[in-house]
């Protein structure tokens, strides 16, 4: 049986994660440059979810958030709970590509913007953001794909409540456990397709050759 509910939940989780994490990721990545000595510590902390076993992270989240609520919504075994977990797990995927994109802008370009009379906000909006666009797209695609496939943390924090916390990955696991290989295969195929498109997007395979900018008028 095809589990549409799980697919819709996964998409909802991925979209919410994206909407919340991207502005934060841009803000952190942009400010990391000016953080001086504290920078390495913050970078290490933000990269921790990359190496930490998902079950370990899930365990701490379960212990930390268990019994707590946010405006009456419980933070474990709920959509809000898996959203918080997803945001934490995705921090390195969202921040690192954007950070690299900001860092690859030559300092002279920013100085030229300064001597052209632009304010810090204008430099960010008119120069840095468009130049870091590729990194931001890459971060968005990676975060989206990674959220669709996340398993360990979601299972630890959310369990497998249909319509609430049972995402596609967990549904695949459930189907295999109940010998529904056809259903598991179909969902796996969807995730495989999504991942392929995501990787293609982040490697710029669908990008057209550069043409004059249309993003900014005069």
């Amino acid at each position: 049986m095809f589990d549409l509910e799980a697919l819709i939940l996964s998409l909802k989780l991925a979209i919410w994660t994206l909407v919340l994490i991207l502005p934060f990721g841009i803000w952190v990545a942009h400010n990391l440059r000016r953080m001086g000595k504290r920078r390495s510590w913050i970078e290490a902390l933000l990269a921790l979810p990359l190496v930490l076993p998902p079950t370990v992270l899930g365990y701490y989240l379960l212990v930390g958030l268990g019994g707590k609520s946010f405006f009456g919504i419980p933070l474990v075994f709920s959509f809000t709970g898996i959203l918080i977990a997803s945001l934490i797990v995705n921090l390195p995927f969202a921040i690192q590509p954007i950070q690299r994109a900001f860092e690859s802008i030559q300092p002279e370009i920013l100085e030229a913007a300064q001597v052209s009379g632009l304010s810090h906000w204008q430099i960010f909006r008119l120069i840095e953001l468009p130049l870091a666009w590729r990194g931001i797209t890459s971060a968005a695609v990676l975060t989206f794909a990674h959220t669709l496939g996340e398993f360990g943390v979601i299972l630890m924090v959310g369990g497998a409540i249909p319509g609430e916390t049972k995402t596609v990955s967990i549904a695949i696991y459930d189907k295999v456990q109940s010998f529904d290989t056809a259903g598991a295969g179909l969902l796996s195929l969807i995730l495989l397709g999504t991942s392929l498109v995501a990787i293609a997007l982040s490697y710029g395979i669908f990008e057209r050759p550069r043409s004059p900018s249309k993003r900014w008028e005069g």
Binding site: E111, A112, Q114, V115, S119, P130
Partner: protein, 368 residues
């Protein structure tokens, strides 16, 4: 008028005191790493010096005192400097036209007006037809013209040029020199040019400040600088070939290792028996086939012909000093010069310029 008096010891040492009047092109010349670019960036507000003051027409741009730290520092945007970077620093995601629109962003909120003015600027730089090209579709010269249009579009109070021609091929550079010379007629603003190329500075600048290890050694019009360098280091930096050492006492200059004594005008600035370096410009040298009472015997060591000009290297018989002399090919032929030939060299004492071997502790040293 722009007045700059800045000093710092770290990260790059800097001790500079210059003024630049409206319409003047003032070149900062020195070897790589001498602090010229740091000075220019400090004036633009991209760096801050530890101590000093930068003023433009009575408006304080920067002031910092040793004890209290920075007290005033306007942002680069507030200072309104046009800045031309060595590597152009065009915004790579914007067309040439959009690049020139950027400095007009705050003064002209209407997009159409902004574009019209930017287009006029590009046309003035001779690249109006390239308005819709991306920077990576422009040649080095075209990129620098776009950058010049961008620097001037804001009608800046001063123009700062940081080695703007060094990454450009020679023919394009010549045409950019011409453009700059034409712009100077219309813009009555101070222009500071940083370059390591003395010939460029000589060609373009009204005055040159020679910088070495962050210290402004001498400020003078090019001709004065080449004829009368303030000290031995300046002579070396401005590439004077015929530089020698001796001792100066009341109008008499001896030449180390040679019996020759020259009569030199005594301006009363150098104490008696001071070891000095001395230089003689090309026009103070002449070669003759016949000896005279004041001539020095010298043998031709080498002749390098460079087109119509020949560089002749001579060695004096008494003392073995090497002298470089430039002459036309015709002159070489007339004198029958060839390696090994002994000839008679006249050195005009009036053209000799002497300077202390070690800088004299003179408070005016940084203030000329």
């Amino acid at each position: 008028m722009l007045k700059v008096k800045i000093s710092q010891t770290t990260p790059n040492p800097l001790q500079l005191n210059i003024e630049c009047t409206p319409g003047e092109l003032h070149a900062l010349v020195g070897p790589s790493g001498s602090g010229k670019t740091t000075a220019l960036r400090t004036i633009a507000g991209l760096n801050n010096a530890h101590t000093g003051k930068i003023e433009y027409d009575g408006q304080l741009w920067f002031e910092a005192k040793e004890i209290s730290g920075v007290s005033t520092s306007l942002s680069p945007a507030e200072r309104s400097c046009g800045f031309l970077f060595q590597q152009y620093a065009l915004f790579p995601h914007l067309t040439a036209l959009e690049n020139v629109c950027i400095p007009l962003y705050n003064s002209l909120p209407e997009v159409a007006k902004r574009k019209k003015l930017a287009q006029q600027w590009l046309e003035r730089m001779g690249i109006g037809e390239l308005a819709n090209r991306m920077p990576n579709q422009l040649s080095g010269g075209q990129q620098q013209r776009t950058a010049l249009a961008r620097a001037l579009a804001r009608t800046p109070k001063i123009l700062l040029l940081d080695e703007p021609f060094s990454a450009i091929d020679a023919p394009t550079r010549q045409s950019l020199y011409k453009t700059l010379a034409e712009l100077r007629k219309d813009f009555d603003i101070p222009i500071l040019l940083v370059t390591h190329d003395l010939r460029e500075a000589d060609l373009l600048a009204d005055r040159i400040t020679v910088i070495d290890q962050g210290v402004g050694l001498q400020t003078a019009p090019p001709q004065v600088l080449f004829e009368r360098p303030r000290n031995s280091r300046v002579a070396e930096l401005v590439g004077i070939n015929n530089k020698f050492e001796g001792v100066f006492t009341a109008g008499k200059l001896t030449w180390n290792g040679s019996p020759q004594i020259f009569n030199v005008v005594d301006k009363g600035k150098i104490p008696p028996n001071t070891p000095v370096a001395w230089v003689i410009p090309a026009e103070g040298l002449s070669l003759h086939s016949e000896a005279s009472h004041s001539s020095i015997k010298a043998a031709v060591e080498d002749i390098s012909a460079l087109g119509q000009v020949a560089v002749i290297q001579l060695r004096t018989i008494d003392g073995g000093h090497v002298i470089t002399w430039e002459a036309s090919a015709a002159e070489v032929k007339r004198l029958g010069l060839e390696p090994g030939k002994v000839t008679h060299l006249e050195m005009d004492g009036d053209k000799i310029h002497i300077m202390p071997l070690r800088p004299i502790n003179d408070p005016r040293r940084f203030s000329n």
